[in-house]
Amino acid sequence: MQLGPLECRLPARTPAWFCGLDPIILFFLLGVLSGVAQSDLRLPPQVYELLSILLLLSIGLKGGVELAAQPFAELFPQMLAVLVLGVVLPLLAYPVLRSMGRFRRVDAASIAAHYGSVSVGTFAVALAYLGSRGIPFEAHLPLFVVLLEMPAILIGIVLARGISKETRWGQVAHEVLLGKSMVLLMGGLIIGWISGADGLDPLSPLFFDLFKGVLALFLLEMGLVTASQIGSLRRHGVFLVAFGIGMPLVSGLIGAVLGSALDLSVGGTAVLATLAASASYIAVPAAMRISVPEAKPTLSLAASLGVTFPFNVVVGIPIYLYYAESVHKVLG
């Protein structure tokens, strides 16, 4: 497969297949290898939390600063379309999981919700990927993350239970809308928007200069977590692996087409494709555990963390950029 316009910038001594691999991906692979080899390497959970907080704020602030210029009203149609995407994706995934995967209703609904929602870690890697290739993208992409996180959870609950009175909808909405990642992303966006680039200048050593280093450490830990899923995957069989790769390839394409239809740039389209292709491993599992407790949490996490996250981070993102370029050529 032609992975698009990846020029090899690495020196000649590196093996060819490493070509185009960002060092942050090498950190991820280091984590996976250490985990598989049963090293005792482990980041303390508190460090992981600090890293997530920094990433979320960085992404939000950056987006907010650049949003400053933009007339806000123009974004509404895009925002609406992205919300619809978050509803459609789990509805696509569910029948596949039921019929081909033969999962119980609750499990299919829960997995579908994971894949309809998003992973901020994957999003950050996509931004870094485009950044290091000098491909521009829209400033308001973090807004899409915020918009995509929630709808799939509601759909997942409805798929599992119907529109049951037992579900405490208000509480579910509260927990998702005010979940840590939403608050930090939105908060960052707003602070960035108010303060502008000059105002944020004294904060940039922490939030902007360290961004890629922080992302590298984050991916090291994600690699360890990915490795810890392999046992679970082995138990749950080959369908889950196939779904974990096939689903993002399809939803990434849907995202790319939508991005292009919404007139996003090639970079923005690639990121929307990545978001569509990514699967949640934080907000959705937490919500499902409480709202659909009969669903087995190990199934969806094995797929999301054990298959889809590594797939997207290592080979998916270049593919979604290729999608974006192709779709733009065809539709543009």
Binding site: V225, S228, L301, A302
Partner: protein, 104 residues
Amino acid sequence: MLNFLPRKLLTIVTESALEPLLKRDLERLGAEGYTIVDARGKGHRGSRDGSWGNASTNIRVEVVCDAATAQAIAAHCKKAYSDNYGMIVFLRDTQVLLEHEGED
């Protein structure tokens, strides 16, 4: 001189995700207090060692209360949670120090 009163000591080990729900339940069911500690462990539903793969860690909740309250809490846990969540509930006698005279 020292007054100890006979009570039950009920211990619940379960998934951390249940902490907010369980706290509400305990108050509703009449527990006068509880103590919670973060834990990890293994049981019928496999290992919960705090790594992500297990989605979460455990909590160990301890309630000193009278026999009826203990029964009510245990019954509620069994009905509401034990089908879908990792959980063990165990009970024993204890004696609690009466802090202030004329308290009971």
